[in-house]
Amino acid sequence: MKAINFLVVGVGGQGALLASNVLAEVGVRAGYDVKKAEVHGMSQRGGSVNSHVRWGQDVKSPVIGEGEVDVLFSLEKLETLRYVSMLRRGGAVLVGEFVIPPLTVSSGDDDYPDDAAIAGVFSQVTERFDFVPTLGLAKAAGSSRAHNVVLLGALSVIIDAVPLEIWLQVIAERVPKKYVQVNQKAFRLGKEIVSKDD
């Protein structure tokens, strides 16, 4: 059972916590020892947020050290860059195509990096880098809020050792009842789009 370190990042209010909660619980159901670390408090809405999730046989630290992330799971494009030093060489990067301009970008003081620049930075460390049209697929599934679950679907392709039923079951338990179908559809759409690429 190979240990896997996930770093879930995004902007407060985007649903990074739901994604990391699902990811942690899926690990438990799949039989891993699991640890998860994040920081709550201060007004996180609109701030940069991250959550460390680790699967393994006997996980020690809940926090992942620099350069030891296997999968960088990013719900917002710019945020992906903030964590480049965390990724190990050859690690996988999944980037949701979701843009939330920081205040200094809205006010015109800073520029938002373009896709080529983001991909360029990561090309120095890994070839496994994918933009996923999370927002578009989530809307197609029935709710833009499900963009985080689209990215989980994409992730499930990388973590192919976990049966699909576990993912769907945990998602069903973690989202409001009336949104279960929307989220399960969002998951499938995310899974399909990455599978097609291969």
Partner: protein, 605 residues
């Protein structure tokens, strides 16, 4: 079956399984979720207190009355509760007394990163430190046993990475007999519990002897773990640092201290004698290291690892490589960020619709010196508002403002404090303002909740922690009772009202209070009233006044004004709550009001 629990949930569960009957706390990151989780166990009386000192006094009362009791706080809360902590250390108690201190290395959400193990030594109180959620739960039980066996309060110290990390926990049961017992006869022992000098002098030798007994007990304490492997390196560690060290040094020998005060001398000297090189890996202060050195044992620690900020496996590895404890095995290049550097920051902000924004807009307009306090409104110090000029600790604003007034400055100066913080430690300071009569104007930001820590009830919300209805304090009546004659209550969303009241309060002779009322925009009942506003692009000329209120919902559009060439404003309909503060600062009436938006919608329909 094991389930994922945060350290905070685990401590609440531990209290339940240990038969705790009373718990009191003041919310504070990273400790808040302990009581929020505790309240699910109906057998435990769980309460929010107005501050940590009251919380600890309440828990001490419970323990004096013979039941297992708990007080919970963040690290700086123990400063507030220190007076109670020290007398409880002197008296001991009839039932077990456990104090949880949640320290915040790296200051994720705090004004300092003080190491509260120092309090344990200062007060002669044993200190337990868990390394994961399972231990956090189980050590609550151990702490109560120690408390009752040695007649002492016990400090259960966790850090942010224990509090907010989720690890697997095996649950136990609550002893049924706890909830079936009848009220006990209150045991009177005046020489033990009345800390007048004559009694206190008799107690001091007792607590010094208790430290000796606890150090001997630590020799065989089950949570002081010795793991002998390769003896070329021996690591003494504690808490979350143990996990980091185990990951970086899987082959080394370990002494993991579950009790970090007092330390067991024999256990340490035996371990030291078996290893070639002895190091301490501990977060923050050189607490263990100093104690070991006092035993005459040579040891390294802070010469290798930082005393500032958090550790993590990366930091431990890097420092160990530098100190020659590990070979450099890193093969990874540092990616260059030159094309995208510096990355735009994303600091925490006042939320869209935050009622504090309007008050700061006015204090800026009036060019006031603003003495701030601890809460969401502290974020008002950030640009573009830059509206807060001092902030030190809970309740400091009013005392500092009074001092500034008495010292005398050219500008006008005010105190700005939230509702919950006012109850915490602001009230005695306002009493001082009234008593010693300064021109201090105190602005109470009454947003009907304790917002910063995630919407906890407080004495003004009319609800208890358990959600039961209770009496709600009236700020106007309270201010008058404390001796403030001039009291103004205003709607924080109405800029004109805020400005008029504030000008008048600044003009009247003597102290005044302005209560700026408006519920937090994120409260569930407020969310129901959200209406997104819109910019009238025919009227907007890109002057940028609305950007200066610092609302994340107002963004620069791609359109420019034909005359000025400046970018027009745009409102993000997903973020805007319709507070209308931007509409009120706009000189051209270029932002549609709520009423206009409703009309537009009706017309469209």
């Amino acid at each position: 079956m094991k389930i994922l629990y945060s350290g905070n949930e685990a401590i609440a569960r531990g209290a339940y399984e240990s038969g705790v009957l009373l718990a009191s706390a003041y919310p504070g990151t990273p400790s808040t979720e302990i009581l929020e989780s505790m309240v699910q166990y109906s057998q435990i009386t769980s309460e929010w207190a107005p501050n940590e000192k009251v919380a600890l006094d309440v828990a001490i009362g419970g323990a004096y009355a013979g039941v297992r009791s708990m007080a919970v706080m963040k690290h700086v809360g123990l400063n507030v509760a220190a007076d109670a902590f020290f007398y409880a250390a002197m008296t001991g108690s009839e039932g077990g007394l456990v104090i949880v201190s949640a320290d915040d290395p790296a200051m994720h959400s705090s004004q300092n990163e003080q190491d509260n193990r120092r309090y344990a030594k200062f007060g002669r109180v044993p200190c337990l430190e868990p390394s994961d959620s399972q231990e956090a739960k189980d050590m609550v039980g151990a702490a109560f046993e120690i408390s009752e066996r040695f007649d002492t309060p016990v400090l259960l110290r966790i850090t942010t990475r224990i509090a907010h990390s989720h690890t697997l926990v095996e649950l136990g049961q609550r002893p049924a007999e706890v909830d079936q017992r009848e009220p006990q006869n209150y045991h009177i022992d005046r020489t033990k519990y009345v800390m007048v000098p004559g009694n206190a002098r008799k107690r001091h030798p007792v607590i010094e002897a208790r430290v000796e007994q606890l150090a001997r007990f630590g020799q065989d304490f089950g949570y002081n773990l010795v793991e002998m492997q390769d003896t070329s390196l021996g690591i003494v560690t504690h808490g979350i640092a143990y996990q980091y060290a185990k990951e970086v040094f899987p082959q080394a020998s370990f002494l993991r201290l579950g009790m970090t005060y007092p330390l067991p001398p024999k256990l340490i000297s035996n371990f030291a004698a078996k290893v070639d090189r002895l190091i301490v890996i501990e977060e923050l202060d050189a607490f263990i290291e100093e104690e070991i050195r006092l035993m005459g044992i040579s040891v390294e620690g802070k010469s290798i690892f930082p005393a500032v900020g958090e550790l993590d496996p990366g930091v431990v590895r890097k420092c160990s490589v530098q100190a020659g404890l590990l070979a450099d095995s890193s093969t990874r290049p540092s990616p260059k960020l030159d094309k995208v550097s510096p990355l735009p920051m994303r600091p925490p902000l006042l939320c869209p619709g935050c009622p504090h924004r309007g008050v700061f807009t006015i204090t800026n307009k009036l060019k006031l010196v603003v003495n701030g306090d601890i809460g969401c409104y502290t974020l008002g110090f950030l640009p573009p508002l830059s509206a807060l000029h001092t902030c030190g600790c809970m309740g400091a604003s009013i005392g500092v403002a009074h001092g500034v007034s008495k010292a005398g400055i050219q500008q006008k100066n005010v105190a700005v404090i939230g509702d919950s913080t006012f109850f915490h430690t602001g009230m005695p300071a306002l009493l001082n303002v009234a008593y010693n009569q300064s021109d201090t104007v105190t602005i109470i930001l009454d947003n009907r909740t304790t917002a910063m820590t995630g919407h906890q009830e407080n004495p003004a919300t009319g609800r208890t922690l358990a959600g039961d209805p209770t009496w709600a304090v009236d700020f106007e009546a309270l201010s008058h009772s404390l001796g403030i004659e001039h009291v103004y209550a205003v709607d924080a969303y109405d800029l004109e009202e805020v400005e008029t009241a504030l000008r008048e309060a600044l003009d009247v002779a003597g102290p005044a209070v302005v209560i700026a009322k408006r519920a937090c925009a994120l409260l569930p009942e407020t969310r129901k009233t959200w209406i997104a506003l819109d910019v009238d692009s025919d009227r907007c000329n890109g002057c940028g006044l609305c950007f200066r209120v610092g609302c994340p919902a107002i963004v620069r559009s791609d359109e420019t004004d034909a005359k000025t060439g400046r970018f027009l404003a745009e409102i993000d309909p997903l973020l805007c709550t319709g507070c209308e503060i931007c509409a009120q600062v706009c000189a051209r009436g270029a932002i549609f009001t709520r009423e206009q938006m409703v009309e537009k919608q009706e017309q469209a329909a």
